[in-house]
């Protein structure tokens, strides 16, 4: 079982869009795939037309009174299951803090699924929190959407530093450009430069396109309703590169 987490401390950068599209492509490629929507806002859950509700909420999961097995829903797509979001996930930090290993609960919850899934995607809420620490421990690869702006490069460097300082096993960090506008000189300049300076930054970029925004209307991955669009192709390239990469640094 390989665990990918889409992560960025900022919101609105394309984490959920990436998680939904990449998980769909993984399943299409034959991998038994699970997407866990960890964001109490439940955007990924909405996109798969599933009700954002987990019996017992985040607390029952974290306390171990319920496994995630019973809450998983089949999506409309072969080989792709969803662990829905729940509004109570907003208190997850407090719940985690009350356990004796507050940073290792996701690991524990995912362990029993190892035989059942080949690929797991964790779609994270934007924050630095116990939840994100759990994610960084549980993930084999942290997938970071980067908006081409100097500020986002700084926060990315901070993330790399943070991951390097983690005890025990560390995930591979994999960044890609998100919402790119090639007409902007700043974007072009960063896109050319950064992949050369940072090994973690891929050359693959997902352009800013209305067809991606339309996911909210179609409530489906881009490849389902616009299979030949440049956006679908970009996610395809992204998945090809991710899937062929090493597990860990």
């Amino acid at each position: 079982m390989k665990v990918y987490a889409t992560y960025n401390i900022k919101g609105g950068v394309g984490k959920t869009s990436a998680a939904v599209n990449l998980a769909y492509l993984a399943a299409q490629g034959g991998a038994r795939t699970l997407l866990w929507d960890l964001d109490p806002q439940g955007a990924a859950t909405y996109l798969f037309r599933v009700r954002a509700r987990v019996k017992g909420g985040g607390r029952a999961l974290v306390r171990g009174s319920r496994g995630i097995d019973g809450a998983i829903k089949g999506t409309d797509f072969d080989g792709l299951d969803l662990m829905p979001a729940d509004f109570t996930y907003r208190n997850l930090d407090l719940d985690l803090d009350a356990t004796n290993r507050p940073t290792r609960q996701l690991d524990r919850l995912l362990a029993p699924l190892a035989d059942e899934y080949d690929v797991v995607f964790l779609d994270c809420p934007p924050s630095v929190s116990l939840v994100s620490e759990n994610v960084l421990h549980a993930a084999d690869v942290v997938v970071v959407p980067l908006i081409p702006a100097t500020l986002s490069v700084r926060t990315f460097d901070q993330l790399i530093e943070f991951v390097a300082g983690l005890p025990g096993r560390r995930p591979r960090v994999f960044a890609f450009w998100s919402m790119v506008d090639r007409r902007k000189r700043g974007h072009r300049e960063l896109l050319d430069r950064l992949p050369r300076e940072r090994a973690e930054v891929s050359e693959v970029s997902v352009p800013a396109l209305a067809v991606v925004e339309q996911m909210a209307n179609h409530r489906a991955p881009v490849a389902v309703y616009a299979p030949r669009s440049p956006a679908a192709q970009a996610y395809q390239r992204l998945w090809a590169e991710l899937a062929s990469g090493p597990d860990r640094p």
Partner: protein, 524 residues
């Protein structure tokens, strides 16, 4: 809300019947049936071909399960259907049949089949063609909560007739309540197919070895024993083709079980049959047993190898590849001899004469039916009691210092007792043999591990010697094989340590009494 079902209305009476009509009609009926709660989204009807699968001994059908391999839209699907019509599906590669479970894709479907099918091959039992209409049942968010397959009649290939139309239900994970509701409605409307009944109608009959006679205590003993041996001969013959074609390892195993049982019958109760018939049978059955032993032994090593490999402590799994290859080559050579023996004139002659002799003996005994005739019930009780006593006499003398040979002999006697109990089980129906059989089985398992551990250790050493002599082994392989031998040694030691306790349970008063009661059945 009925009009929200996006399905054409059923054709009016007398309308032209299109090739799709049965499936389309079915789909429309389904939509109408569940329209109050759900929307139904149909896909276009598609032609499919289907192969029905089961093991030689029908392990799935006997549990009310049907397994099919359906090719539709350039894809292939394995579908396991429960007695209630619920389906588990798995996308599959292009597969040829028969196939072993290893060939199936990893996943929940294979996990469910594994304990049922075991090492048996899945054989194609029937093939059919039909048209299918897939429907998705949607909730208020247009989320698929159940999938349905509406199928028109399926025409069987090879003039096997036609299977009736029906609907199958594939639940979506996490939507149990919805699936139950849809099922309830469809059931109520009489739309759900009876897949097992549907499929079984198209299966060829199992050419099994049914009992030749009905065993009753008042049957003349000669007729009962001859009938048993005739059944076992049927069982042997039943497994010859599968063994020759090497479909799976169970054919040979079952063939050997039938031979072994025959030998025990001949030895333990053969005295009620004509002496010449018994003498020849004893010789030929031993030959047949010996003919099959080398291949079966190699099958066992090869079947056990994955588990043994997983237990390696120091050596790497790939160190055993050369050993596996060596065993495979030995097996191929042994199988050639086996196949020759099974096709030999000697076996054909024996089969013919043996069956004729048994049938004649049985018919003569039934025709005679004199009042002095020994009856099957009396024979059974007498021989079981004697076998038990013989076993206890032997077992009571075994101490911690006894040689391994004594335990092996005890195991042999125990096997005989078990066979007798199995053979005569229909006669003992009225008696609770629960504890007796359970304790005997536990004791035999222990003795089996003891002996097999020893035999396999010696065999691994012999394999290693031969591989070195013929330049087929490198040091890492030999070291890994050393670990295998050590594993077997440990198994043997553990079994030896358990023996005393197992034996004491077997001879405790309650079990003794149960065996004692058998005599009464025979007398009464």
């Amino acid at each position: 809300m009925a009009d929200s079902a996006r399905v054409p209305a059923p054709p009016a009476g007398g309308a032209t019947v299109l090739p799709d009509a049965p499936a389309a009609t079915l789909a429309a009926t389904i939509a109408a049936t569940i329209a109050a709660d759900f929307t139904v989204e149909p896909d276009p009807a598609r032609p499919f071909t289907r192969i029905w699968l089961d093991t030689f001994d029908r392990r799935l059908v006997r549990r009310g399960l049907t397994l099919t391999y359906t090719s539709i839209r350039r894809g292939h699907w394995l579908v396991l259907t429960d007695p209630d019509g619920t389906m588990t599906e798995a996308a599959a590669p292009d597969l040829g049949w028969p196939a072993l479970l290893d060939a199936l894709p990893d996943g929940p479907l294979r996990d469910r089949l594994a304990p049922l099918v075991g090492v048996r091959a899945l054989l194609p039992l029937a093939e059919g063609r039909g048209r299918r209409w897939d429907l998705r049942v949607l909730d208020e968010n247009d989320k698929t909560v159940v999938r349905l397959h509406a199928e028109g009649p399926v025409r069987l290939v090879g003039g096997g007739g036609e299977l009736p139309a029906g609907v199958g239900l594939v639940p979506v994970r996490g939507y149990r309540v919805e699936a139950a509701r849809v099922r309830g409605r469809l059931e109520h409307a009489g739309l759900l197919a009876d897949p097992a009944g549907r499929a079984a109608a198209g299966y060829p009959p199992v050419a099994g070895a049914d009992p030749v006679v009905g065993y009753r205590p008042d049957l003349p003993a000669t007729a009962g024993v001859a009938g048993m041996l005739e059944s076992f001969l049927g069982e042997v013959e039943h497994n010859v083709d599968g063994t020759v074609d090497d479909i799976d390892t169970e054919f040979l195993h079952d063939l050997r079980v039938a031979v072994r049982r025959s030998r025990s019958v001949v030895k333990l109760v053969g005295d009620v049959l004509p002496a010449r018939l018994v003498a020849r049978a004893a010789t030929e059955l031993r030959w047949l047993g010996d003919l099959t032993t080398p291949t079966r032994d190699l099958d066992v090593y090869l079947l056990d190898l994955p588990a043994a490999t997983a237990e390696l402590a120091a050596a790497r799994p790939e160190d055993l590849d050369a050993f596996a290859g060596y065993l495979g080559r030995l097996r191929a050579a042994e199988r050639r001899k086996l196949v020759r023996g099974l096709g030999s004139a000697r076996l054909a002659r024996f089969r013919r004469d043996y069956r004729a002799g048994l049938t004649a003996a049985r018919e003569a005994a039934l025709a005679d039916g004199g009042s002095t005739t020994l009856l099957l019930g009396g024979l059974a009780a007498d021989r079981v009691t004697r076998a038990y006593r013989r076993m206890v006499r032997l077992g009571d003398r075994i101490t911690a210092g006894s040689p391994a040979e004594d335990l092996h002999t005890l195991r042999k006697r125990g096997k005989e007792l078990r066979y007798l109990l199995e053979l005569f089980a229909p006669l003992f129906d009225s008696v609770t043999l629960g504890d007796a059989v359970r304790e005997l089985k536990a004791l035999q398992d222990c003795l089996g591990r003891f002996q097999d551990g020893e035999v396999q250790q010696a065999a691994i050493q012999q394999f290693a010697t031969d591989m070195v002599a013929s330049g087929q082994a490198h040091a890492p392989t030999l070291l890994a094989m050393g670990e295998l031998a050590a594993q077997r040694h440990r198994v043997q030691q553990e079994a030896r340590a358990q023996f005393e306790q197992r034996y004491q349970r077997f001879v405790r008063p309650r079990v003794r009494r149960q065996f004692g009661r058998l005599t009464e059945v025979g007398a009464g």
